[in-house]
């Protein structure tokens, strides 16, 4: 009896599970960054599969900008309760309140997540931090190792990346340093959606088409929220939209879509002529190297 070779999704799943188990075997205090978005939900699903029938041996950490969609927070809390996981939340608001951070003029809090993240890593002594970053998202991310060293300042130096051979990861680090780990490095947006469909993974409802009051800014449909609603000649209108990514509400745009099922979402992603970040993330449009600059400072 011959055993069929793995298909692409099997291969990606096995690779991610291998990465989770390596970290569990070699690190003392790993943590999974979890926002309730599709990529971090996928991470948690893979972590559960890696250690079943035992529980996931790491907690989750959410860097909460406070600019949330209520559906996503409800979803986050439900998944934590259902799987019996531990969730730590670092509120960006706390850093603003005690003066460690200052609100930006444009109201965007995505870049403000870096300091609470690094402070939490130091305070809780996390040595390995799982993120849902994918190399197909952006050109700087395309150059990142699966296991990537951060210095005591949380910085990434693309010129000093370690060789990463076969599936042997070198996680050695000095006190104060940590590694970022990206188990779904090799997944594309379409792989993520196909796998979500295959595995029947639940997602926050805002990933599917719904009616929402939105306004147009910088070519994107933004929702009203604590980050400031329409101003000047911007005006709210009811649109049929969904979200392709979920980030800070101030800079994550919705796309017009009638896709209410996974089949429809996959068809839409397949036919899309824009990358998910290009379509929906104002923060990546700031400059040609916006993501690289934020990564160097210790961003996800």
């Amino acid at each position: 009896m011959s055993v069929p070779v793995l298909d692409a999704l099997d291969s990606l799943e096995s690779e991610a599970i291998h990465v989770f188990r390596e970290v569990a075997g070699e690190f003392d205090r790993p943590v999974i960054l979890f926002s309730g978005g599709k990529d971090s939900t996928l991470l948690v699903h893979l972590a559960v599969k890696a250690f079943a029938p035992a529980p996931v041996p790491f907690p989750l950490l959410h860097i909460d900008t406070g600019h949330n969609y209520p559906e996503v927070i409800e979803f986050r809390d439900a998944i934590v309760a259902r799987l019996g996981l531990r969730l730590e939340v670092a509120h960006v608001q706390d850093w603003i309140d005690d003066g460690r951070l200052t609100e930006r003029a444009d109201g965007t809090r995505n870049p403000l997540q870096t300091v609470p993240l690094l402070d939490s890593i130091v305070e809780k002594r996390f040595d390995a931090v799982f993120g849902g970053g994918r190399r197909d998202e952006e050109r700087a991310r395309a150059k990142e190792r699966v296991m990537s060293l951060r210095d005591a300042f949380g910085r990434w130096d693309p010129r000093k990346q370690r060789p990463e051979l076969w599936n042997l990861y070198n996680g050695r680090h000095a006190a104060g340093e940590h590694v970022r780990v990206f188990p779904i490095s090799n997944w594309t947006e379409l792989d993520v959606w196909r796998y979500i469909q295959r595995e029947g993974i639940a997602l926050p409802s805002i990933y599917y088409s719904h009616q929402r009051e939105v306004f147009r800014r910088d070519g994107m449909w933004l929702a009203e929220g604590p980050w400031g609603g329409p101003r000047g000649n911007e005006s709210l209108e009811l649109r049929t939209v969904r979200y392709r990514t979920v980030g800070d509400g101030s800079c994550t745009g919705a796309v017009e879509s009638t896709a209410t099922t996974l089949d429809e979402v996959i068809a839409e992603v397949t036919a899309s002529r824009l990358t998910e970040r290009g379509a929906t993330r104002a923060d990546d449009r700031l400059s040609e190297a916006a993501m690289e600059d934020r990564k160097r400072e210790g961003y996800f």
Binding site: A8, A52, N170
Partner: protein
């Protein structure tokens, strides 16, 4: 069963047009989306170029765009109706050989570029030697910029013949019957023979680059090799209903495992039987190389992370004293007597470097006896490890034949990053007992 996945790497010298070739593959397979094309067009206009510079699709870091070079391995993803591809695009600079090694170590195929005007150059020989050392199963020589030699059949065939000789002397099979080494004349700039067959090379009868990538097998020799599973983690739920559950978690490195198989646990040597092969989705009848599983054994034996579960009928050798061929990637030269760490599968142990036996001149392929190994050197050394290791020949099973050497000194130094060195087991005749 969906589409399968081919992992491949590209390598070549600076200015061979590698990033342009990768950009061309992405562009012609419609894997580049409108906003990315717009960004490239905007940047090309800013640079005063007449046509879009496709290399900008892949060279994303600031220094890369400023200097027009590729610094690090970039991973790219594209698909066709039959297959998905993970492409490791590796830099051409000598000092970034570490990245070429990184990109090629997981590849089932490597595309090596040469400039049709220059043919096989020193860097081609170096890359080919590294690819041979890593035993990348298949090689494609893409002769680029054929538009600049007027599609001259004689020139291109001479380069192909030159390269076939090099590949043969490095141990690649160049029989026309198999496809281990294939030569394809292309122009990444114009698109000849990359995705579309070129009308300007009527004498060329082989496949286009994409056609070849779509048809080669996606698996290496591991599939047919004996079963190996380096244990990553012991799963013990310790719940009431699963009180005695002990599952050995790992990714099948080679071969196939089924319930009932006789296995041996190494280096300890305990023999037992596979009770079941499990995943979170339930038990499997069989699991092949590449699959992450949890194995339950019939007997309760002492087994932990670092051990290897192997086919009892064809086990690996267990040794603490052996020769290996290294690609030295550290700035700090390797001296005899060096004390390092060795990471093999899921076990890390101490190692002492003995005699430096030889060093390969990648230009002439001649061997000499070195005093030290410097960065980017390929050489054979004697090693003695603190713990015995179950090892296979790298040619048969990459996962149990390859290892890393790690410098523990710089591993603790701030701010220098630890130096890591690639190691590859040598042929069996060099084992010392």
């Amino acid at each position: 069963m969906g589409r399968d996945l081919l992992r491949f790497a590209t390598a070549g010298s600076v200015d061979d047009g590698k990033s342009t070739l990768v950009g061309r593959l992405l562009y012609d397979t419609k894997s580049v989306l409108a906003d990315q094309i717009e960004a490239v067009q905007r940047a090309s206009v800013d640079k005063g170029l007449a046509t879009p510079d496709l290399s900008l699709l892949v060279d994303g870091l600031r220094a890369e765009r400023e200097q027009g070079i590729t610094i690090d391995v970039a991973y790219r993803y594209f698909g066709t109706p039959t297959r998905e591809f993970v492409l490791a695009d590796t830099p051409g600079h000598v000092q970034y050989t570490r990245n070429t090694v990184t990109g090629a170590s997981t590849a089932e195929l490597a595309v090596l570029l040469v400039d049709a005007r220059h043919g096989v150059v020193e860097q081609t020989r170096r890359h080919a030697a590294v690819l041979a050392l890593l035993r990348v199963p298949r090689l494609v020589l893409a002769i680029n910029k054929i538009d600049l030699v007027d599609y001259d059949q004689g020139v291109l065939e001479a380069i192909g013949k030159d390269f076939a000789g090099l590949a043969r002397s490095l141990g690649f099979s160049t029989d026309s019957g198999d496809d281990a080494v294939v030569t394809i004349p292309v122009s990444a700039l114009v698109g000849d023979n990359v995705v579309e067959r070129s009308p300007r090379t009527p004498w060329y009868e082989g496949p286009t680059l994409l056609g070849h990538l779509e048809s080669v097998p996606v698996t290496g020799p591991e599939v047919d090799a004996p079963f190996r599973l380096p244990v990553q983690y012991v799963i013990r739920p310790r719940t009431e209903e699963l009180h005695d559950y002990r599952g050995y978690a790992g990714q099948v490195a080679s071969g196939t495992v089924r319930p009932g198989d006789e296995v041996v646990v190494l280096p300890g040597g305990h023999r037992t039987t596979v009770a079941s092969v499990e995943t979170a989705d339930g038990p499997l009848e069989a699991a092949a190389a590449g699959r992450s599983v949890t194995v339950l054994l019939a007997d309760d034996i002492d087994l932990s992370r670092g051990d290897v579960i192997a086919a009892a009928g064809a086990p690996p050798r267990v040794t603490d004293d052996f020769d290996a061929t290294l690609c030295w990637l550290s700035e700090k030269p390797l001296h005899p007597g060096a004390r390092l760490l060795l990471k093999h599968g899921t076990r890390t142990t101490q190692v002492i470097v003995g005699e430096l036996r030889d060093r390969l001149d990648t230009d002439t392929l001649a061997l000499s006896v070195p005093k030290t190994l410097a960065i980017n050197d390929i050489g054979r050394v004697a090693l003695r490890t603190a713990d015995p290791l179950p090892v296979d020949d790298y040619a048969d099973i990459r996962a149990t034949g390859g290892f890393l050497l790690i410098d523990p000194q710089s591993g603790c130094a701030v701010p220098a990053a630890p130096q890591v060195l690639a190691g590859v087991d040598d042929v069996p005749s060099t084992w010392i007992t």
